[in-house]
Each structure stands twice: as structure tokens, then as C-alpha cells.
Symmetry: C2
Subunit: 175 residues, 2 copies
């Protein structure tokens, strides 16, 4: 890692599978480090599944040593049960970096899309295609991984802007 | 603690404040150990607040060494934002015992109420009064503490019943 480079982990939380992607940003240069999924045993109890996902993320953080983390603000929909499930996974996904002393920035979904694709309403395919273009060395199989990388790219782009500081990215410092 | 006695922590999660209560069950005898609230700084970022609550609960678990944990199944309401917030706090509250190797049982709210008050639709005041009656040594100031104790009492009552095993209490074993 170059002296001025910073490693960022993007996380796309879900109870069944949580996508993660690590990128390195050096000024405007961006490079792919790694990405993947942590999954939980669908037959397991909720607490056990959250623990599986948490321990998976802690392993990733320990291996790749990101210095900052980013997560999408959750899309709140009308399905309250789905919202609750996602909330629980999201609590886990926020805790993993926070307990490792890493600040976690949050971005609205349309900002992530706009940063990566140029529009605020690109589909999953479009996001994956642009992530592949921006990170030519990236290998990923799933939309969750592509989304996690998109969130990391978004943070790389916004982390030092007034916008991020003033409005969007609430970068939780590890106090 | 007596040889056959078991310590149970009940947790009532919330992002602003999370109630906790520890009881000891020895057969049908029930006794109060401790209860309180862990709170988060409302001005803090979400990840930081979840970390504050988590570290508070870990401190409680380390101090009082419960062997089992119980939490209410969340009431899903129409306010999606509130549901998401609660979900995030709930993810944190499930992780704290799970990562300490403690199984977490879940009970529907009406089962907690029925166990403690005899009806499935008691109000907060009625629950607090019955918790005070069942645990004469308990001292608590808030409804969140009373609710956490009620959840612990519910688990003490149901943990060895077929009902708990077959239907309601999904006791996550620390695998």
C-alpha cells in the first residue's frame, strides 16, 4: 500500500448474505483489493446467524485492514418484516467496523448510484458493469459484491468533499 | 449462586436506551440479581451509538455472568423508520450475548405479558407492578428495565417447557 493510499471497505448488509468489497484509493486513483460474501446458515437461529455474519466480517477486516468503512443508508420499504430483518443485519454490519475502531460513513442509495453510474437510478446490471469498468481487476460473481464495491467507490469519491462532511456521509469517528 | 440455579439476562433493545435485567432461577424460585439501562449518545453517529450500547451490554454480561439470554420478538409496526431503528438495536442486542457464547431465546410480546401478568394485553404499568411483586428485591426506575426483567422472568418460566422448545423460544445454542 502506498503511503498516501487509504483502504476502504464497502458493506452491503443482508441476513442471508452480506456483500463486502475492499478498494484502495490514492488521490483519484482507485484499485481493487478484494471482495466477497459472508453468509449465514438459513436454518440457524437469528442470534447465531448474526454472529456468523459478524465473525465473517471481522475476519475480512482483520485480513485486509481497511481504515474506513462505508454502508448504504437503508431503503425503507413497506414490508415491515423485511425492514426489521435488514435492520438487524445492518446493526451487525455497523458494529463490526465500529468495534474495530473504524469510522463508518453512510450514503443514500441514489448517491451511490449517481457516483458510480452517473445517474441516480441505475439498475443492478448497470452498477455491476460500471464497477467492472472502474476496477478492471475486480472479480465478483454477485450483485451484493458489486454493490459493496460501489459503496466503497462512492466513499472514495466523497470522503474528502464538503458534501460528505456537511450532509451525506456521517463518518463515525472511533471515539 | 446455588448449584442448580441459572442466571438469565432479559434484554429490551432500543437505540436510545436498552433495558437489561438479570434474574436467578432455581426451580420455581426466582430472585432478582440486577437491572439497569445502557444508553447511547443521541448526538452520536449510528455506528458509534450501536457500539456504545454493545459495549455497555458486554460490560453487564461480564459482570453478572448470565448463562442464558432472552429477548422479545419485535413488534413490527407501520412506521418503517422506527422498525428499521429498532431492528438495528435488536441486531446489536442479539450479538452481545451470542458473541459471549450465550444462547438467546425469543418470545412473542403477548407470551411475555401473559407469563408475567396472566393476560396477553397488560399495560406497561401492570407489567412493572407484577415484576415488582415477583421480584420483591428489584429496584428499577424505568419501563425498559421492568420490561427486560419481565422477559427474563418469561424465559425462567418457559425455558424447560415443550412450548419453548417446540414453538416459541428459539434458543440459539452457541455452536
Amino acid at each position: 500500500m502506498r503511503a498516501q493510499a487509504i483502504r476502504i471497505i464497502g458493506i452491503d448488509p443482508g441476513l442471508r448474505r452480506t456483500g463486502w468489497g475492499v478498494v484502495e484509493a490514492d488521490g483519484v486513483r482507485l484499485s481493487y483489493v478484494a471482495s466477497g460474501l459472508v453468509t449465514s446458515d438459513a436454518e440457524g437461529d437469528l442470534a447465531y446467524r448474526l454472529r456468523q455474519l459478524y465473525e465473517g466480517l471481522v475476519g475480512i477486516i482483520t485480513s485486509f485492514k481497511p481504515q474506513e468503512a462505508a454502508i448504504e443508508e437503508t431503503f425503507v420499504n413497506k414490508d415491515a418484516r423485511a425492514t426489521l430483518k435488514l435492520g438487524q443485519a445492518r446493526g451487525m454490519a455497523l458494529l463490526a467496523p465500529a468495534l474495530a475502531g473504524i469510522g463508518v460513513a453512510e450514503y443514500p442509495p441514489n448517491v451511490v448510484k449517481k457516483t458510480v453510474t452517473g445517474t441516480g437510478h441505475g439498475g443492478k446490471d448497470q452498477i455491476a458493469a460500471m464497477v467492472g469498468f472502474l476496477l478492471p481487476k475486480a472479480t465478483f460473481d454477485s450483485a451484493d459484491e458489486a454493490d459493496a464495491l460501489a459503496i466503497a467507490i462512492c466513499h472514495a469519491s466523497h470522503r474528502q468533499t464538503a458534501w460528505a462532511i456537511a450532509r451525506g456521509a456521517r463518518l463515525a469517528t472511533a471515539r
